[in-house]
Symmetry: none
Subunit: 253 residues, 2 copies
Amino acid sequence: MLEKRRADILDLINREKTVRLRDLVERYDVSDETIRRDLRSLERAGYLVRVYGGATLPNMYGAEPRYEMREVINLKEKKLVAKAAQPFIHDGDSLFLELGTTTLEFAKLLHVHNDLTILTNSIPIADVLINFEKFNVWMIGGHVRKGERATSGFLAEQTIDQFNVDKLVMGVGGVNREGWITDYHSEEANARRKMIKRSRHIIALADYSKFDVTALNQICPLSSVDILVSDEKIPHPYKRILAEAGTELVIAR
Amino acid sequence: MLEKRRADILDLINREKTVRLRDLVERYDVSDETIRRDLRSLERAGYLVRVYGGATLPNMYGAEPRYEMREVINLKEKKLVAKAAQPFIHDGDSLFLELGTTTLEFAKLLHVHNDLTILTNSIPIADVLINFEKFNVWMIGGHVRKGERATSGFLAEQTIDQFNVDKLVMGVGGVNREGWITDYHSEEANARRKMIKRSRHIIALADYSKFDVTALNQICPLSSVDILVSDEKIPHPYKRILAEAGTELVIAR
DNA sequence: CGCCATTCGAACAGATATAATCATAGACTA
DNA sequence: TAGTCTATGATTATATCTGTTCGAATGGCG
């Protein structure tokens, strides 16, 4: 009976994830065209997806963006900004390097230096840096967040409190006209505030897209930032805002 | 079936980070050209990057050092040993996972579990684990050694001392007839001793090549080890030696 | 640097699956 | 009994997948 067979096929595929037309033909002893009609019908009803040679449950991999290959937005600007920030680092410095794509680009540029001590909570950044043998690299431990591939939490904060470094290099989530730096990641926000406290100089990297953006978490006022590196497209009023806050603005070209 | 095979390959590479064409050919019993077509297709879809002899995951950050498909010695035995150790883990466990290629293989097998809390000092292991969303992953901070891509030093030790876990899973440098486990990495030795102290159960992974080897650093006596997993080629006298030490021997087959 | 083994890409051919179409059998109804 | 409707089977042209062959490219090793 048709209805029974189709319900049965549905059962089967839900258990097995995939079914082969060949097997179904044999199992129900009907022609392959009949099975094909069944599958077509079930597909139209949305229960499965037909594939060459059988069918599978929807979303095997075709639709599932397991690896969002989000190419990094504004990568060109980020690289530029990173490059403009690099001269502020000197051999012998100790640094906090915060997670972020801009800071990752920055990390890649550090190979020209010698004798740096670098503390980071970002796994990709640590991964880049350990290829430069001449550095002293410390990974800040803590809870690992999948999204950012970086650590945070009480363990990270407690670790940060044990160090005093020359410079913190950080990306930002947003900068607004009230003169505040904000960020999206609540978990990391605390760690970042602690880093700020523990660093003699603060260098913030922010391409033009970060301005007039207010993210969820207040991080620090602009006046806490010594140097802010951006690019030529920085919105005009910020030159004044930064000057008032006593922050040196560096434009990458 | 084509779609099934490709989805399967995708699963595999997401767990293993790299796949070899040769292995896939054997696993699916199809021609190498077919696998090549699969990989080409998956590459076009952005799910992986083809490399000579196989494929690897795309590096999401644009410039991480590429996971090369370097040959690990005794990889087959290591995989076997890791597989034999996996059943000793139970949902809900908390684990220390030490650095090492065997423990890395072990980590890849953990996806069958739920609700694990895992602390590791190995960057590659953390990298594998954060893809399994259902785990609580903690990176142990510390000084990053290039050779091992893992952390050690006072910071690591101090972090370890803040935890008590159910099980420690560790590789070993060597096991000798005097009943001692030894290791090559002096820096990690201290951290490892602390982990041992902080773990209720100790599981050691040692393929046959590790026996009758004495490395520089004494780690612990065999009697501290609850379960030792090895393979069929384990030298004969060790069955007695382990029995005398009160260590359960598990042979991977 | 050159040699060797392995891997790769292109092209073709054979096998298998699919879509479109028509034919048939049985059930129900008028 | 004839009409018609539905599920199924059969036929054929087309599309897709796969294995094989062979020359070129690549990587490892002396």
